[in-house]
């Protein structure tokens, strides 16, 4: 069902990417290769390692790094007929919500090129939204697939933690990272996820739970489905995002779902907890970029200390440095218990709260983002306001549950809005069914073609 011509994809990229800047590398398929009938073009976020193109993570520190191996998800895609037409832009090491932190320039929103495409997987989202590829892979740590999907008016899925192997995904925060998918239609995301999901012996955290047939019964509607509205999340929500969300909820009610308010009392701590845990893990995950074995080594470094300080000083951008410092602090002797230790406790509480809520509900709903795509430059100098972009998405990463963004209409300025659907661990199937129902009833996706 995922289909598209490789040549046409490459042509569209050539024609449009000068404006959008979704891609950091485009495959060299100038002479049309003969492709098998089931092949399809796919774009890959540039923090997934590939042997045939460089992997930059949107950072100067990796230089012209070529991986000696393909990420497991990439290898599975290739085996299923996926042809990687290019690698997409991202905030450096996936740290950001706008791609403005890429070392190689911002990706523009196809709906309004003065606005961001979201992030960190903004390049993949924009590439799908602009019709350059039918599907793309991104990665999530706190909302980096769902938020750009919302800003670009497409479907974005973050599966259950452990559903997709992280082997070959350059680590940001290992306990939160998960590869996700983008498409215009719900069923395409279901199909793409089924290709890359499943146990991988190369990732100790990948799950042995069997992968469901996500498309089986995907059109069977939501009659009787127990739908929870996360009360704590939408309590202070106003304006057109609130109106759009209420309208989306109404679609479920009309479809026969049993809609009630759900409670996840600790959800309000998510952003604080998220930025402690994510940065703590990032601070050590990024230690391997030391200028010793690969990547950028400062030309002026003469001593060992200079290799470290100058290579990392020159190679990392300001947001990455900020997070390494914050994370290092959170793990420091004397501060560990107050920050990292406490954040882990609150995270456990959040997981428990979700587990309790899912005893009553099959899925939970919130908006995907508190606002539509913001303007380029609007938040880049205000990290805290940028961090709040993740307010609805980060809880699912902390709890490890699957969640997805589905287009839910447009703002008065014509910018896409998005509904978030969350489901219990490994219940992607019910999540896709609920999303497919919404797509069938609303068809906002049509506006994107």
């Amino acid at each position: 069902m995922i289909s598209g011509s490789i040549d046409e994809s490459l042509r569209t990229i050539r024609e449009n990417d000068g404006r959008i800047h979704a891609f950091l590398h485009v495959a060299k398929h100038d002479v049309p290769a003969i492709q098998p009938a089931d092949s399809f073009p796919v774009a890959i976020k540039d923090n997934l390692v590939t042997t045939d193109m460089p992997t930059t993570c949107g950072s100067r520190i990796l230089g012209e790094f070529y991986s000696p191996f393909d990420a497991t998800a990439v290898a599975r895609l290739r085996a299923a007929g996926g042809v990687i037409v290019g690698k997409t832009n991202l905030d450096e090491f996936a740290m950001g919500s706008s791609t403005e932190h890429s070392a190689f320039g911002v990706t523009r929103n196809p709906w309004d090129d003065t606005r961001v495409a979201g992030g960190s997987s903004g390049g993949s989202a924009a590439a799908v939204a602009a019709g350059m590829v039918p599907v793309a892979l991104g990665s999530e740590t706190g909302g980096s697939v769902r938020q750009p999907a919302a800003f670009c008016g497409i479907v974005g899925v973050k599966p259950t933690y452990g559903r997709v192997s992280r082997n070959g995904l350059v680590a940001f925060a290992s306990s939160l990272d998960q590869i996700g998918v983008f498409s215009r239609r719900v069923a395409e995301s279901a199909e793409l996820l089924a290709i890359i999901a499943g146990h991988d012996p190369l990732d100790s955290t990948s799950s042995r739970v069997l992968v469901d047939d996500y498309r089986d019964g995907i059109d069977s509607g939501v009659s009787g489905l127990r739908v929870g509205i996360v009360g704590e999340a939408i309590r202070d929500l106003k304006g057109e995002v609130r109106a759009n969300f209420d309208a989306a909820v109404e679609v479920y009610r009309r479809g026969g779902a049993k809609v009630e308010t759900a409670h996840v009392p600790s959800i309000g701590y998510s952003i604080a907890v998220y930025y402690i845990i994510a940065n703590a893990e990032a601070s050590t995950n990024l230690s391997r970029f030391d200028g010793i074995r690969y990547g950028h080594r400062s030309a002026r470094a003469r001593t060992l200390g200079e290799i470290y300080f100058d290579s990392r000083g020159e190679g990392f951008g300001p947001e990455v440095k900020r997070r390494i410092m914050l994370g290092t602090f959170a793990l420091s002797s004397g501060y560990y218990d107050a920050y990292y230790g406490r954040a882990q406790k609150v995270r456990a509480k959040l997981r428990a709260d979700f587990a309790t809520a899912f005893k009553q509900f099959d899925i939970l709903l919130t908006p995907t983002t508190p606002e539509p795509a913001f303007r380029i430059g609007e938040k880049v100098s205000d990290p805290l306001s940028m961090y709040l972009s993740d307010i609805f998405t980060a809880p699912a990463n902390l709890a490890g549950i699957p969640a997805m963004a589905v287009p839910s209409g447009f703002s008065s300025e014509g910018l896409p809005l998005s509904l978030q659907i969350m489901a219990p661990h490994f219940q992607e199937k019910v999540m896709f069914r609920a999303a497919q129902f919404f797509e069938n009833e609303t068809a906002y996706w049509r506006a994107t073609t």
Binding site: T55, S67, S204, E281, S287, L331, S333
Partner: protein
């Protein structure tokens, strides 16, 4: 008033696995630099660790052998610091929740308590040249266990003895090859002084002590150094010191203020290590009897002296060789003598490993049987043994080939004895005149006549009878 030394050891032992702790690379020693490496142990972007089950098994085996409690749940943590031999910028180790806790090692008359045993990965190696430093990451990621003792040791010789004992247990369990020259076993010592009965003093940690002799020397040096400071009214600074084997002294590496904040936290790339009781029990079945247990058994069941038992159990291979020989020979005492005196001599003379030795316990056991049944004499047995060690031939074959079988036929010995007495009338007369020392000469002549094959006991008896009896 004297000072009492308080010493605890941290011993790092490389586990005897085929592959590294978190990847499939070989662990072999001495390969060309950077040939046993992969994306995981080079810390390439996106590569993830996957725990080696065999390493966990060996760690559990050592924990069982030292009476540690094997924890059903233990946690791998990241120890963060930058160094070129550490590709990830952190070492995967165990911190708050190690795999083994408690335990103890009997050391002579005293018990050394263990704090913990944990699993961790080794770093690579740096080679410094005049104008550059080179990194070899073959060793990066090889599995280690760290065995931490309580500060129960009181002298340099105590510490060296404990380290020896620990090495012996590591080698018995097959957890480590104990090869200190190749760095399979390394030791850090924590040393402090106090007045007897007083609370613990400030300690220094001495790193890089890679032999029993160096360990003893390093500790002696530390005791002298700290004593001098304390006697002159000074204070010990908590610090890490490096032992310099050439100078025989320790030097300050860094003080507590300069020490790293390792920022330990659970490694999110690895799951909690959960160990089922049934696995522990099945590993328990593979832990061999340890030296201490064997010494007790040898003394009790075989009536072997404590000293002999100590020698026989120093190496597990020798102990196993002895036990198999004793079983085959059905004569433990004799087996003990042969192994202790002859086998060890040959191995030592030829610088041979037991694994390459041509004599098997079955062969030696049968040789002892040949002696015990009277088929060959003691002198011939030595000859057979030497030939076995040389050629690897079976003892029966050698006896046959060399015609070494013992003559125990009374008639044959008597015939030969008569011949000897006939040829030596003067000596016979001297004996009968009371010079009984001449007896040995006549027996010797008989043995010579029979080319050493005469049953020695019977030869004595026959000569005596003929000399004592009235003239035939």
């Amino acid at each position: 008033m004297t000072w009492e030394a308080v010493i605890g050891l941290e011993v790092h032992a490389r586990l005897l696995t085929e592959s590294k702790l978190f990847c499939g690379c070989a662990t072999s020693f001495g390969a060309a630099p950077n040939t046993h490496v992969c994306p995981v142990c080079l810390a390439y972007p996106g590569a993830l660790p996957v725990l080696n089950r065999r390493a966990v098994e060996l760690a559990i085996r050592m924990a069982i052998a030292t009476d540690c409690e094997v924890q059903p749940r233990s946690v791998f943590a990241r120890k963060n610091y930058f160094y070129p031999d550490l590709p990830k910028g952190y070492q995967i180790s165990q911190f708050e929740r190690p795999i083994g806790t408690g335990g103890h090692v009997e050391n002579g008359g005293m018990t050394v308590r263990l704090t913990r045993i944990h699993i961790e990965e080794d770093a690579g190696k740096l080679m410094h040249e005049s104008d550059r430093s080179l990194v070899d990451l073959n060793r990066a990621g090889t599995p280690l266990i760290e065995i931490v003792s309580e500060p129960d040791l009181r002298s340099a010789s105590d510490a060296a003895a404990y380290f020896t004992r620990l090495r012996q247990i590591l080698m018995y369990t097959g957890a480590c090859d104990g090869n200190m020259e190749e760095g399979s076993l390394r030791c850090d010592a924590n040393v402090s002084l106090r007045r007897p009965g007083a609370p613990l003093g400030t300690r220094s940690e001495v790193k890089n002590v890679n032999s029993f002799r160096y360990l003893a020397r390093a500790i002696e040096f530390e005791i002298e150094r700290q004593t001098a400071i304390l006697e002159s009214g000074g204070k010990i600074v908590q610090e890490t010191r490096l032992f310099d084997p050439a100078a025989g002294e320790t030097r300050s590496m860094r003080t507590k203020e300069e020490s790293h904040d390792y920022r330990y936290f659970p490694d999110p790339d690895l799951l909690t290590l959960e160990i089922e009781q049934s696995w522990i029990e099945s590993i328990r079945g593979t832990v061999p009897l340890l030296p201490r247990q064997r010494i007790a058994r040898y003394q009790q069941d075989y009536a072997i002296s404590a000293g002999d038992a100590e020698v026989l159990t120093a190496d597990r291979g020798i102990a196993d060789f002895f036990e198999a020989t004793a079983a085959e020979a059905a004569n433990a005492k004799s087996a003990a003598n042969w192994v202790r005196n002859e086998v060890l001599r040959v191995l030592n003379d030829r610088k041979t490993e037991l694994a390459d030795y041509r004599v098997t316990p079955a062969m030696l056991g049968r040789l002892i049987r040949l002696i015990d049944s009277g088929a060959i004499g003691g002198k011939a047995a030595k000859e057979v043994f030497d030939e076995m060690s040389e050629s690897g031939d079976q003892p029966e074959t050698i006896v046959e080939k060399k015609g070494l079988s013992q003559v125990s036929d009374p008639a044959a010995i008597r015939d030969a004895a008569l011949l000897v007495l006939e040829r030596n009338p003067a000596q016979v007369e001297q004996y009968r005149a009371g010079k009984i020392q001449i007896f040995g000469f006549l027996v010797g002549q008989l043995m010579k006549e029979m080319r050493g094959r005469a049953n020695a006991e019977m030869a004595n008896q026959v000569i005596r009878e003929l000399l004592e009896s009235p003239r035939a």
